[in-house]
Amino acid sequence: MCLAIPGKIISIAGQYDGVFRIGKVAFYGIMKEVNLCMVPEAVIGDYVLVHVGVAISIVDEQEALLTLEYLEKMDEAKELKFPVT
C-alpha cells in the first residue's frame, strides 16, 4: 500500500489555494504540484517522498548512503557473489 516515491523539489509557492504551502516536484523529469505543508523545513533541491499529492517526509541523504553501504560494513560480505539464475 501507500505508493510513495521520491521527487525533487523544483519550486515552492507560498500558498495552496490561499491556504497551504505547495511546490513543484520532479520525478524523472515529469512534474506534479505537491502539497508541502507536512515538510515545512523542505527547501528547493530536497528530495521528498510523495504520497497521493502530499509530501510525507524529506529523504535523508546521509541515511540513504548508509543503506547503500550497509553490506560493506558487514565484514563477511566482501568477495563472493550469489549465483542468480
Partner: protein, 367 residues
C-alpha cells in the same frame, strides 16, 4: 531516478542475496506488512531467489483488501445518489461489494471519478457547487494526513458540499491481532516503511517486546527488501527481537510530527472491521465530532443493512499469513482478477492478485 534506481542495482541485490544465503540456518517465516512490499517482491521475482529456509507471507497492508464489503456498499450507494460525485483512488473501483462494484455502478450511470489525490476532490467541490463531492478516504496511516488535509482545506474554504467516507485502518492493532491468533506462525515482521514515515517507530517497541518478535521497518525497492529480510534473519538467527529501521532515509524515530497533528485534528481512533479478519478494536480512524459535517456517513445518514462477507474467500487466513493464495480452492478458477471473489484478488497489491499477476515461474503452476 535518484533514491530509487540505486535500490534496484543488480550487483547490490546479488551481494545481499549471497549474504542472506550465507547466514540463513534456521527455517523462518517472515511477514511483509505492506501490499506495496508484496508487490515489489513478486514483481521483481525476489521470492524465488530467497534461501529455502525463508518463507514470506503477505500481510494485511493493502487498504483495498481490508475495506469491508459494507463500506464498499456505502460508497456504491453514495455514488448512485443523484447529485453526488464519488471520488476514489483508482484501485478501489474493482473491489466487490455485496452485489456489484464501483466500476459497474459507474457503467450504470453513477458519477464516479478517479483522482490522484483527495486534495483534487476539494477542487472538484469548489468547481461544482451544486454537487455533493464525496471522497472515498481509504488507507493506512500513510494516507490519513492527506485525507485529513482535504477536510481542513474544505473547512477553511467554507465548503458545504465536501465530505469523506472513511475506511481508515491502523497497522499496529492488526499486527497484534495476527500475533494473537492461535495458529500464528510469523517469526518476524517487515514493517511498512511509508506508514512509519508518518508514525515513527515508537508504537513498535512494545509489540517487539511483548511478543518477542523482530520488527524491521523496511522500504519498497529490491535492495530495501533484501536488506530488511537480512536484518530480520540476522536477529532470528541470533535470537534477538528488536525494532530496527532499514528505511532510515525516510523514517525517523518520532515520525512526522506535523502529519500526526494533522491526523489528530480531524480523526479519532475507532473500532474498525477489516475485510476477511473481522472487527479489531481501536484499529481505525473516524472523523471527529468537530468535523462531523465532513463525515459522509453522518451527512447522508448512512444506515445500510449489514452484509456478511463471502464465506468462500479465505482472505482472512491469507492476510494473517496462515495460508498462501494458491492454497485457496478458488484461486485462479472461481476467483480471478477479472471477477474477484475476495478483495485480495482485486488490487495488484492484494496478495492473491500479486500471486496471480506476477507469480514467478515456479509458482505459476498454481495460476
Amino acid at each position: 531516478m535518484k533514491h530509487l534506481s540505486e535500490y534496484r542495482d543488480p550487483g547490490l541485490v546479488q551481494q545481499y542475496l549471497y549474504e542472506l544465503h550465507r547466514i540463513t540456518q534456521g527455517s523462518w517465516t517472515l511477514m511483509e506488512i505492506c501490499g506495496g512490499q508484496t508487490h515489489s517482491l513478486v514483481k521483481n521475482g525476489i521470492l524465488d531467489m530467497l534461501p529455502p529456509g525463508i518463507t514470506m507471507v503477505h500481510g494485511p497492508g493493502c487498504p483495498v483488501c481490508v475495506t469491508p464489503v459494507s463500506v464498499i456498499d456505502e460508497a456504491i450507494y453514495l455514488a448512485q445518489q443523484p447529485g453526488v460525485i464519488l471520488c476514489s483512488f483508482g484501485d478501489m473501483l474493482r473491489v466487490p461489494g455485496s452485489s456489484t462494484n464501483l466500476l459497474e455502478a459507474k457503467a450504470k450511470g453513477a458519477d464516479v471519478r478517479i483522482l490522484y489525490s483527495p486534495l483534487e476532490a476539494v477542487q472538484l467541490a469548489v468547481a461544482n457547487p451544486s454537487k455533493e463531492v464525496v471522497f472515498f478516504a481509504v488507507g493506512f496511516e500513510t494516507t490519513a494526513p492527506a485525507n485529513a488535509l482535504s477536510v481542513i482545506q474544505a473547512h477553511k474554504l467554507n465548503l458545504s458540499n465536501y465530505s469523506i467516507l472513511t475506511s481508515h485502518v491502523l497497522v499496529p492493532p492488526a499486527m497484534e491481532a495476527i500475533l494473537q491468533d492461535q495458529e500464528n506462525t510469523i517469526d518476524a515482521f517487515l514493517a511498512a516503511g511509508h506508514v512509519c514515515a508518518i508514525m515513527g517507530m515508537e508504537e513498535y517497541y512494545p509489540i517487539a517486546e511483548k511478543y518477542k518478535i523482530p520488527i524491521v521497518i523496511t522500504g519498497f525497492e529490491p535492495v530495501d527488501l533484501l536488506q530488511g529480510i537480512l536484518m530480520a534473519v540476522q536477529q532470528l538467527e541470533n535470537g534477538e527481537y528488536q525494532v530496527q529501521n532499514q528505511y532510515a532515509r525516510a523514517v525517523n524515530r518520532q515520525g512526522n510530527i506535523l502529519a500526526k497533528e494533522t491526523i489528530h485534528e480531524v480523526f479519532e481512533i475507532s473500532d474498525r472491521t477489516w475485510r476477511g479478519i473481522g472487527n479489531i478494536p481501536c484499529s481505525g480512524y473516524e472523523v471527529t465530532e468537530m468535523y462531523r459535517k465532513y463525515n459522509s456517513r453522518l451527512k447522508f445518514d448512512l444506515n445500510l443493512p449489514y452484509v456478511a462477507e463471502n464465506k468462500e474467500c479465505i482472505s482472512g487466513a491469507i492476510m494473517k499469513g496462515l495460508k498462501k493464495p494458491f492454497q485457496c480452492p478458488n484461486f485462479g478458477n472461481k476467483c480471478k482478477p477479472e471477477n474477484p471473489l475476495g478483495a485480495p484478488m482485486v488490487s495488484s497489491e492484494g496478495a492473491c492478485a500479486a500471486y496471480y499477476h506476477y507469480a514467478s515461474t515456479q509458482v505459476s503452476q498454481y495460476s
